[in-house]
């Protein structure tokens, strides 16, 4: 008796499908066509703003903290957590929480991003999928810190930096969550973050 897998694969193999070439996406002929911005950071900031996020290029963590203290979402936040050392004066400790449900009432989360993509205002974040992963989506407001030098122009450049062998989870986050499902009216803050702030930090920072 054959399995469904066998049935499906046999059915596919019995079809006559003409051969096709797989494009070589690394070929210089193609890669020279991809858009490159003269100032990727400025482009990133502009696009992010267009999708409802905010970008602040800063020098160091001290400046991040200063800027945070000006944000109303941060000021009004009850529960704050942070995966960045010396940043945000968190009152909730992330490593102590093992059940992601316990992050339900987090108002403000300060989290690391790996790099930013100018063409679409996205930040790549990745982790091992543990409990803290939910913070990117469950916290009411999310702030991402990204090294200022890690801004690429386009997605092909982004995928050159990506490898999937280690972490089980990664996502491109572009701005706060949103929906236009009610009469095409854009509403920011659907199920995920109500706001997304990205700091492009010049000096290296530590994650906890």
């Amino acid at each position: 008796m054959t399995t469904s897998k066998d049935d499906i694969l046999n059915k596919l193999r019995n079809q006559s499908v003409p051969q096709r070439e797989l494009p070589d996406l690394q070929s210089p002929e193609l890669t020279k066509e991809w858009i490159v911005y003269p100032d990727p950071t400025a482009q990133f900031a502009e696009v992010l703003s267009g999708v409802g996020g905010e970008c602040y290029p800063v020098k160091d963590i001290h400046e991040v903290n200063q800027k945070l203290s000006e944000l109303s979402a941060f000021k009004e936040a009850n529960k704050v957590c942070s995966q960045i050392s010396d940043c945000g004066s968190p009152n909730v400790s992330i490593p102590e929480i093992t059940d992601p449900h316990d992050f339900e009432d987090i108002d403000f989360a300060i989290l690391p991003g790996e790099f930013a993509v100018a063409e679409n205002g996205a930040v790549w974040i990745t982790n091992d999928g543990g409990p803290a992963r939910v913070l990117y989506f469950l916290a009411q407001h999310v702030t991402l810190l990204v090294p200022a030098s890690a801004v690429v122009s386009n997605m092909p450049q982004a995928y050159e930096r990506l490898a999937f062998a280690e972490n089980s989870f990664g996502t491109f986050m572009s701005g706060p969550s949103k929906t236009a499902d009610i009469e095409q009216s854009l509403v920011i803050g659907a199920h995920g973050a109500r706001s997304l702030t990205v700091f492009l930090v010049e000096e290296t920072f530590q994650t906890t």
Partner: protein
């Protein structure tokens, strides 16, 4: 099932509403145009995407096995389902094994195709659609009318009434912000309480065994990072060979669908989180058969962006429900007849063959050509109405006999101008319902030629 023309005519009876629907979707089409203009390499990207998908279909069995190997190595349980029934049984089986009764689901047209929700509900499992548009139609007990914007056909007043009844919002409230906030609170509880999360799959990567789920709302991620069981449902054609191919598709998908440069979240899953379980169900349900068809194979390129729907002048003016098919619009009018040509025989004709769909399709499916080819298939299979068949035969005979053609034309040009209006314009004359007939001239062109030109 009532035909598309019948349902479309009903939709249009509320002209104001039909205009509103048309304009809403045209707006999305124009956002797509703006976004495409931002990338000078747009047409090149479409070509690459088309070639990658065509390669994928040409190597599908091999790539599926590669995917299964790599996914399994990352700890994913891979299941194969021949058809919708088997798919539903597999999903239910996994949930039952884990004694799950509360499930949240992010948008998956595949689960709509399989009618998964009613199946699970029959087996005592609560399944909540968490995409706002899908939740709205779920609360109405209706299917989505558009594959990306499920509630595009519903006005905010209706949503306000619905939420007042089902979610306890203020009576008469219509502000989208207020209504969305209410849905946020309501669905947040569902996420918190859910014991499993079901998602669709936008792209599965053969090379790495991972897959990508794209949303704007974050509902797929909330649905899968709070509980310990993630079931992903995927059509076998959703495969791509390499992770690097995403650099093409993720640039095309959201721009084509809604005019955004990318969806808010494009989540890449490579195996379960620590302590959690991940399953993926690979569904055939007729796709393998399509792969063998030279004419329709390219419909498997589809990445379900709905750009074809947004641009289709017929879809915009008739609404998704007039197609009576899980997927409506141009692509749905190709996939539907593939599954059931008899029930869907009017769909390939719900088209003026304008070709706009083909020009917006990010993976360059020759949609309007496939729709035309489907008309031939419908005729060959015997589902064309007899009246149409016979009238075309008669017209062909007439056109093969120039004298008969000339005589018929001459008679028509003599009789029609002499008929009283009530004979010409009545229930029998569909052309004349909203249009005047052309003025029938005394002479045909060839009669004029004979008289004025050939004798010179």
């Amino acid at each position: 099932m009532p035909s598309h023309p019948k349902l479309a005519a009903e939709f249009i009876q509320n002209k104001e509403r039909a205009h509103w629907h048309d304009q809403s979707l045209w707006f999305v089409r124009s956002k797509r145009d703006k976004a495409a203009h931002q990338l000078p390499e747009w047409e090149l990207l479409r070509e690459q995407a088309s070639q990658i998908k065509q390669y994928t279909v040409s190597q599908l069995p091999h790539l599926l096995e590669e995917f299964e190997r790599n996914a399994t190595a990352r700890g994913v349980h891979v299941h194969w389902a021949k058809d919708a029934t088997e798919h539903n049984e597999i999903v239910h089986g996994i949930l039952k094994q884990h004694q799950v009764t509360r499930v949240v689901k992010s948008k998956s047209m595949l689960t709509e195709e399989c009618h998964l929700n009613p199946y699970l509900e029959r087996h005592g499992i609560e399944i909540i659609d968490t995409d706002l548009g899908e939740r709205i139609v779920q609360l109405q007990n209706k299917p989505p009318s558009h594959i990306v914007m499920p509630a595009i056909h519903i006005k905010k007043e209706e949503i306000g009434e619905l939420f007042h009844e089902k979610l306890g919002t203020e009576k008469g409230a219509t502000d989208p912000q207020y209504l969305t906030e209410a849905a946020r609170q309501h669905l947040r509880q569902k996420f918190i309480q859910a014991e499993a999360g079901i998602t669709g799959v936008n792209f599965a990567i053969a090379e790495t065994g991972g897959f990508v789920v794209c949303t704007n709302e974050g509902n797929a991620d909330l649905g899968t990072s709070l509980n310990k069981l993630h079931i992903a449902c995927m059509g076998i054609e959703k495969l791509i060979p390499r992770a690097g191919d995403l650099s093409v598709f993720l640039r095309l998908l959201a721009r084509s669908a809604t005019g955004q440069p990318i969806t808010t979240y494009s989540s890449h899953f490579h195996g379960p989180a620590p302590g959690a379980e991940m399953h993926i169900v690979l569904l055939d349900n007729g796709r393998s058969e399509i792969s063998g068809s030279d004419e329709f194979r390219r419909s498997l390129n589809c990445i379900r962006c709905a750009a074809c729907m947004n641009t289709c002048p017929v879809y915009r003016r008739s609404g998704g429900y007039s197609y009576s098919n899980t997927v409506p619009g141009p692509i749905g009018s190709i996939l539907g007849p593939a599954r059931d040509p008899k029930a869907n025989s009017t769909l390939p004709f719900a088209c003026s063959l304008c070709g706009s769909c083909t020009d917006v399709c990010p993976v360059k499916i020759d949609l309007h050509h496939q729709l035309l080819t489907w008309r031939k298939e419908i005729r060959v299979k015997g589902f064309l109405p007899f009246s149409k068949r016979i009238s075309m035969k008669m017209m062909s005979w007439m056109m093969q006999a120039p004298r008969l053609y000339r005589l018929t034309g001459k008679m028509a040009r003599w009789i029609v101008p002499r008929l009283p209006r009530f004979l010409l314009y009545n229930r029998m004359n569909d052309w004349g319902k909203q249009r005047e007939l052309p003025e029938f001239p005394k002479q045909s062109f060839r009669e004029w030629m004979k008289q004025n030109h050939d004798n010179k």
